[in-house]
């Protein structure tokens, strides 16, 4: 009987799972740059299973595109972030498709340092903005603030 009750509560618990689990997670491997040379920062993004977020380029100007902003540093010249190929999400009952990202993907940010840059560790402030939906809900746009650790050799 105890075992059956445990199974019962496990199943009920699993139906309500997901509380406080973030929809989008970012991890940033340490980036390395060399004085006066070009390199790139890679952001690993994970979208919770079942959800998608709008692409960087959206077909409807009022949708919220996924964007990355990195605070500038006078010694580091940042390029335009490069986003992955989008997936199409069909809006059932219409002829419309949304361009979205889901699962795991990478955003690449090229950068170049000044020749006379001071060598050492830099922490760049960054923000990822996105708007997520799953099959039952569309969530308010959100912004994640994070740090990009960068070592200049």
């Amino acid at each position: 009987m105890t075992l059956l009750l445990v199974i019962f509560f496990a199943v009920v618990g699993s139906l309500n799972r997901g509380i406080s689990e973030p929809i989008v997670k970012i991890s940033v491997p340490d980036a390395t740059g060399y004085a006066g040379k070009s390199s790139r920062i890679i952001l690993d993004v994970e979208v919770k299973e079942g959800y998608h977020i709008q692409a960087n380029k959206v077909k409807d100007e009022f949708l919220v595109p996924t964007t990355v902003d990195v605070a500038t540093d006078k010694n580091i010249e940042l390029g335009k972030p490069s986003f992955p190929v989008t997936k199409e999400f069909k809006l059932e009952g219409t002829n419309d498709f949304l361009d979205v990202y889901d699962g795991n993907f990478q955003i690449t940010i090229p950068f170049k340092t000044q020749r006379g840059v001071k060598k050492g560790k830099y922490n760049l402030q960054a923000r990822l903005r996105y708007q997520a939906c799953d099959f039952k809900s569309c969530l308010f746009p959100k912004t994640i603030e994070f740090i990009i650790p960068l070592t200049i050799m």
């Binding site: 509380i19 409807d60 059932e92 009952g93 099959f135």
Partner: protein
């Protein structure tokens, strides 16, 4: 032992069924009253709508499902406004200027209400549904019909797997209600 196993199975099925029907327990209950300002500057009160069928749609300008339904809501209003039906969009937590700019393309001839702090939207979130979401997020993209006494007669939360952009089910229910009067 067999009886206990049966009991557990019945309990499990009842929990799973109730989650599948999560928005349906509100049917027949009085809708939460509100007074909201519209983008036309006028105030609209649900209490003043007694005697009229009301269609409510919760929306945000960035919501793709809401935008897909928008032309069909306008069409619905045009086809039903002479049948004692009022349509309202309740825009949730957005700036008036943005809402005006975004919705101009749909040329709505019914009021678009501004739920600036999300309190009205939160009051329409079915209890216990999507507990991991903010309460004012839950009703986004959903449609309701309130009857002439202000009771909820239809409530469809977003279900993008069976997305009803053309509002077929809503219209069916409206027709049913109109035939009953």
């Amino acid at each position: 032992m067999r009886y206990r196993i049966m009991l557990i199975i019945v309990l499990l099925l009842s929990v799973m069924f109730s989650i599948g029907q999560e928005d349906q327990y509100l049917i027949g209950r009085p809708a939460a009253t509100f007074t909201l300002k519209a983008i036309d500057g006028k105030s609209y009160s649900l209490a003043e709508m007694k005697g009229t069928y009301v269609v409510l749609h919760f929306a945000a300008t960035w919501c793709p499902f809401c935008n897909a339904e928008a032309p069909h809501l306008e069409e619905l209003y045009k086809n039903y406004r002479d049948k004692n039906i009022q349509v309202f969009i309740v825009d949730v937590k957005e700036d008036k200027d943005l809402v005006e700019k975004s919705l101009a393309r749909f040329k709505f001839s019914f009021p678009v209400l501004l739920d600036a702090d999300g309190a009205v939207s939160a009051s329409y979130a079915p209890e216990g549904v999507q507990p991991d979401l903010a309460r004012d997020e839950v009703p986004l993209a959903s449609n309701l019909i309130l009857d002439k006494e202000g009771k909820i007669r239809f409530y469809s939360l977003l279900n993008s797997a069976n997305f009803d952009a053309k509002l077929t089910q809503l219209k069916q229910k409206l027709d049913e209600l109109l035939q009953m009067k």
